[in-house]
């Protein structure tokens, strides 16, 4: 008997076996009574032994069974352990996904934290030893060159929006998803991302568009023929010609991945439609100068197999229309030609600028933009890839719907062996320590960021399934928004209120005097009183400074926040000794929405921020000024930042690659390489001098004793672990092995959070749907369909479901009705089609589509049910 078994399970097994034994007795009637006669429990540290004796009374015989079973008691550490669940995490480099799956199978690796596709993914999915988590976030498209050819003898058919729209019918997305991707993709028709809140909000509208643009080669041919003829082309034989010459489309096909097959498939479809196709199959870098930088009107290409990525669950879809259908976001030659219909242009801009007064108004804008984007069709979306993250069965971890494990902020807070506390886990990554680590211009590689997230904390985390902010280090928050702005809040830790005007107070810090190293107040910066779109107030816990420590043991202080605030301004200021030209655009971007900040209280810490940066969700509109979030690339305490600044000033190294290259010096790296020696020198000097950077400002928050203690702590940390990267997360970076391609993260026992804090995010609550109902419906009569929705093998609670919408399509594929299913009980809903709906159906096969939108996960659940109508 396994140690994992519970006594109750054993009991049930016993009942079953005894019942079986009783049945073999050949009696006519068996009455079974099970009673636990005795039960002794002897607690042990990890397990208890349960002795169970049962007497089974039956007629005509009685069987007495005694069994001893071992059951695992809850490890006391489950409830009390702080920091990470594991003792150590060893990150190992493994570039090849096939090899990674083999290593996972062999137990040489516990998790491969990259999203994998193709044969490796299929092998992982089919493995008995592995589990996989689906990740969305890479979209395939067919991008059109919409430029009119300078050479008037040439015709570019895709200048015509109707032809671009008609191409939707020529692509069998199900074929691409099922055959070319082996099921590791889902058809994609509209611009809204799969892992986005709007995908769920507008699921019915999307479903309707999917039905409208379903694969139909005859429709494609008919529509394209009509437009081609109107453009002066003629169909000679089975080929389109213009000015007597066959029309040849130049198709740029990426050859690094499945897009090669997609390109081949679409080329064949185009040839069937009467076009000659010249396939140009090359890599990204070879094709980029043609489609991205080239002049579209030279007609050096007509189609391109593009793809776009998404790294986190999208809450607002601001870019969904603005980036792909207008010329206002990307300064590329092709985009300059984008000139959408006025209605789409206006809706797109208003969605982008959050220019609406209510959620309903926004919904209308999206409902307007969605079909128009299909008609204008600068691109036809094809598929959304569903890559998988593989890990062994005994591993439990939180993944992000769009970012997988490597992009999940909570991965290190949740990763563990399901059956034990502690242990060492090997996690594979395609690359380790790809670029230098520093907070201002360091590595932004997703795998480096995974390590940095793993050893760090956040003021506010992001829900990996919905993209909504969840509490991190802060205790609670308040958001005050200008009236009319459609912001809402779903969490009890955020207080949202509206005011006619949000005024920036005169004493708020709004700028920086780099020469005197002091903040400028709003009164100094602005000539008149400023208003902002919103004010957010982050309240840190009362015991924050006594519980949160840096990995070198230094207590957190207000100075760490202030340092992060200063560097937002100072490093991009030419008057600063640390000036870096490459940081100017970043500073300008920050200033575009920033209005002011004020530390309302230092203990407990309360920070107020005034900003024009809007967001539909109050949870995502809060500025915590948490250093790891304020710095663009990694965490930093004020004292290791001080060393980096000193090195920056004396030319030993530079934060950004730009400045390092220009000055022919190394880039600052806190974990390895030549920077370490320079940092050691700076640390000695800083310690001797009692160096406090930006002393006129930071000196108000740091004493000489504080500085001495911090430098001593950092020196000891560097002596032990050989690097200077410290953060505050549940693990710390205890081993850096760049040549071997390994990183070791060790549990940080002084972390204030229980290891179980984020356990509720272990797996996405994706709804599983089953529809039951009449196979035959009489036209004009009511028909009811039962909808069963489960999650994790149990009924989906009604409270966790946002809405269940049904759509009815007739035999021609046209949508005839839409409605909302009624909740019956947890896990059960019902869709009732009234006589008016069934009357609208004609004889034949119809389809009922159900869209389940959960509050717990951004991706809606979809299911279909076919039924026949008859008079």
């Amino acid at each position: 008997m396994s140690k994992k078994a519970w006594a109750l399970v054993a009991l049930l097994v016993l009942i079953g076996s005894v019942a079986l034994a009783a049945c073999t007795g050949g009696t006519e009637t068996v009455v079974e009574v099970t009673r636990i006669v005795s039960e002794t429990v002897e607690p042990e540290p990890a397990t208890v032994e349960v002795e169970v004796t049962r007497v089974i009374e039956s007629t005509p015989e009685t069987v007495e069974v005694t069994r001893v079973v071992e059951v695992e008691a809850q490890n006391p550490e489950e409830a009390t352990r702080k920091g990470g669940w594991l003792d150590t995490i060893v990150i190992v480099q493994e570039a090849d996904s096939n090899s990674a799956v083999a290593r996972l199978e062999a137990g040489d690796m516990d998790m491969y934290a990259d999203d994998i596709a193709g044969e490796a993914a299929i092998q992982a999915i089919n493995s008995d030893n592995l589990q996989t988590r689906t990740q969305y976030g890479l979209f395939d498209e067919l991008q059109f060159n919409i430029g009119t050819c300078q050479d008037e003898t040439q015709l570019n058919p895709f200048t015509d929006a109707k032809i671009r729209e008609a191409m939707n019918y020529a692509i069998d997305r199900d074929y691409v998803a099922q055959e070319l991707y082996n099921g590791l993709a889902v058809p994609k028709y509209v611009t809204l991302a799969e892992a986005s809140a709007d995908r769920a909000r507008f699921a019915p509208e999307i479903r309707a568009l999917e039905a409208k643009y379903a694969y139909n080669m005859d429709t494609a041919r008919e529509l394209i023929s009509a437009e081609m003829e109107s453009m002066g082309a003629t169909l000679e034989g089975d080929k389109w010609t213009f000015n007597g010459e066959p029309i040849t489309l130049i198709f740029l096909i990426r050859n690094e991945d499945t897009r090669l097959l997609i390109g081949e498939y679409i080329s064949t479809q185009l040839e069937e439609l009467g076009f000659n196709v010249e396939r140009v199959e090359r890599t990204s870098s070879e094709l980029s100068p043609i489609w991205n930088a080239g002049d579209p009107t030279l007609c050096e290409w007509h189609l391109y197999t593009g793809a776009w990525s998404q790294t986190a669950v999208d809450r607002g879809s601001e870019f969904a229309f603005e980036q792909y259908y207008t010329n206002r976001v990307l300064p590329w030659p092709l985009w300059a030609l984008y000139s959408p219909p006025a209605e789409l242009d206006d809706a797109s801009l208003r969605i982008y600028n959050n220019d609406y007064s209510s959620i309903e108004e926004r919904a209308e804008l999206i409902r307007t933009a969605l079909p128009l984007s299909m008609e204008y069709a600068t691109r036809d979306w094809i598929t959304s890839r569903t890559t998988v993250v593989p890990f062994r069965n005994e591993v439990s971890v939180t993944t992000d719907l769009a970012g997988g494990v490597s992009g999940s902020p909570l991965w290190s807070k949740t990763v563990r062996f399901a059956d034990k506390v502690g242990g060492s886990m090997n996690i594979g990554l395609p690359s380790v320590f790809t670029e230098p680590y520093n907070p201002m211009g360091g590595s932004n590689w997703v795998f480096d960021q995974m390590i940095l997230r793993g050893v760090g904390d956040q003021g506010i985390y992001t829900d990996p399934n919905t993209g909504l902010g969840v509490l991190g280090r802060i205790d609670h928050a308040e958001v005050v928004v200008q009236e009319g702005y459609p912001m809402s809040s779903q969490s009890d830790w955020v207080t949202l209120s509206f005011e006619p005007e949000v005024v920036v107070p005169d004493d708020a810090w709004a700028g920086w005097d780099a020469e005197n190293q002091v903040f400028l107040t709003a009164a100094d910066v602005y000539t008149e009183t400023q208003t902002a779109l919103l004010k957010s107030t982050a309240y840190y816990p009362d015991d924050f400074f006594s519980t949160v420590t840096w990995h070198d043991g230094s207590a957190y202080s207000v100075a760490d926040f202030v340092m992060a605030m200063i560097t937002q301004f100072d490093l991009a200021d030419p008057a600063s000794p640390y000036y870096d030209e490459a940081l100017v655009p970043t500073r300008d971007q920050f200033l575009s929405s920033f209005k002011g900040v004020r530390i309302a209280s230092t203990d407990p810490l309360v920070i107020e921020t005034w900003s024009d940066g809007g967001n539909l969700d109050a949870e995502n509109a809060i500025s915590t000024w948490w250093p790891a979030a304020t710095y663009d690339y990694s965490d930093a305490a004020w004292h290791n930042m001080a060393l980096m600044l000193r090195g920056e000033a004396d030319g030993s190294f530079a934060f950004t690659a730009d400045k390092a290259t220009a000055n022919e010096i190394e880039q600052t790296n806190l974990i390895s390489g030549p920077s370490l020696a320079a940092l050691a020198t700076e640390l000695t000097a800083a310690s001797e001098e009692g160096f406090i950077p930006y002393a006129p400002t930071l000196g108000q928050y740091v004493t000489a004793e504080d500085a001495a203690t911090r430098y001593a702590n950092l020196a000891e940390f560097a002596r032990r672990y050989g690097h200077y990267y410290i953060s505050t997360g549940p693990y710390f970076l205890s081993g850096v092995f760049p040549v071997e391609g390994q990183a070791v993260l060790s549990q940080y026992a002084a972390h204030p959070d229980l290891a179980s804090r984020f356990s509720n995010f272990a797996a996405p609550a994706t709804p599983v749907i089953e529809i039951d109902g009449p196979a035959r419906v009489t036209i004009g009569e009511e028909a009811a369909f039962d909808i069963y929705v489960d999650v994790n093998d149990g009924p989906y609670p009604i409270d966790d479901i946002d809405a269940i919408t049904y759509l009815v399509f007739d035999a021609d594929g046209a949508m005839v009705a839409q409605g909302t299913a009624e909740a019956v009980e947890d896990g059960a809903w019902q869709a009732v089609l009234g006589p008016d709906v069934t009357s609208a159906l004609v004889e034949g096969s119809n389809r009922l589509d159900v869209v389940v939108v959960s509050k717990l996960v951004a991706i809606p659940g979809l299911a279909s049910y076919e039924f026949v109508t008859a008079p």
Binding site: A106, V329, F433, Q589, A660
Partner: protein
Amino acid sequence: MATDVITGDFNNAEVDVESIEATARKARAQGIKRLLRYTLLKLVALVITVAIGVYITVIVANMGGAVDKIRMATIRETVALASTADPAFRQLTSTERIALINARVELEAKRYGLDRPFIIRSFEYLRDAMTLNLGFAQQLVSDSGSRLVRNIILERLPSTLVLFGTANLILFFVALYAGLSLSRRYGSWGDKIVLALAPTSAAPPWFYGIFLILIFAALLRLLPFGGMVGAPPPDNPFDYAMSLLQHMILPVAAWLLSAIFLTIYNWRTFFLIYASEDYVEMAKAKGLPDSMIERRYILRPTLPNIITSFALLLITLWTGAIITETVFNWPVIGQLYAQAIGAFDTPVIVANVVIYAYLLALTVFLLDFIYALVDPRVRVGEGGHKA
């Protein structure tokens, strides 16, 4: 050729020592002069050859300047997408957004030197390469995060030498010994086996590597899948060395399996020609022991070829073996080349080529002198036999 100056009869010979010494000095001076002239000319020729090779590399690596267009397009793409990913970007007006992206593109272009014509940069690359001023990489960083090309290469050197040095040395000496031995046992069963197995070298090392991994790592779980050391790397140097050795077994075995039979066959065929020379037969007829015949009558005259082969083998280590390294996940120098070529990182590509070129030139240069040392038939310089 020195001239003997001898006067008087031979019974009372009076040797003009001064004259002899003068003649000898003159001969030495002429020899040194000839040697210096030869050395200088050889060096100049080699440097010119290296320069031409490096410049061709610069041109090829940059596709004659076309890489500038590719890089510019990549910068525009990367910068634009990175900018749009920042929430603050949304607050900007359309004009500000485009201005911001263009400013960032300009900065990046400047960092890559794209603000200057390629032809000028190509000669700068050549100058830096010839003076071994390897400078900074454009995109790659060393494993420890350094952008200095020197560090990028040097960090990979120890693991390269450990893996391929070991594999090649074993291969060289085993094949040499076995080849020599088989040349004396022509037609034996061992000879026939090697002959039969020689075609197995048609498969590259990584091919054997995959099978070895499947058998010994995935199936039997006796040896690691790959990597340089276990995870986490042992703290104790002895344990580290043991772990390193354990991780070397499969790649070295793959390397040997792939090449050993063909290499033995080559050496055996080579030695066979010398083993059938008349003077060898004579030695055999005299009853000299086999070991002496092999050492003095076969190995000695073939020494220049063996040394050449060994020297070239040593510098070939510099090129690594890209796929084999990848299969075994070893951080060796070949992967670096592949990454540099993929990233169009000209300084790293040029550095690799120029170092290899200099090593090759130096080897060729030194071999001339080594030949003269090991083979009395060879003279360096004019009048001597060109090696």
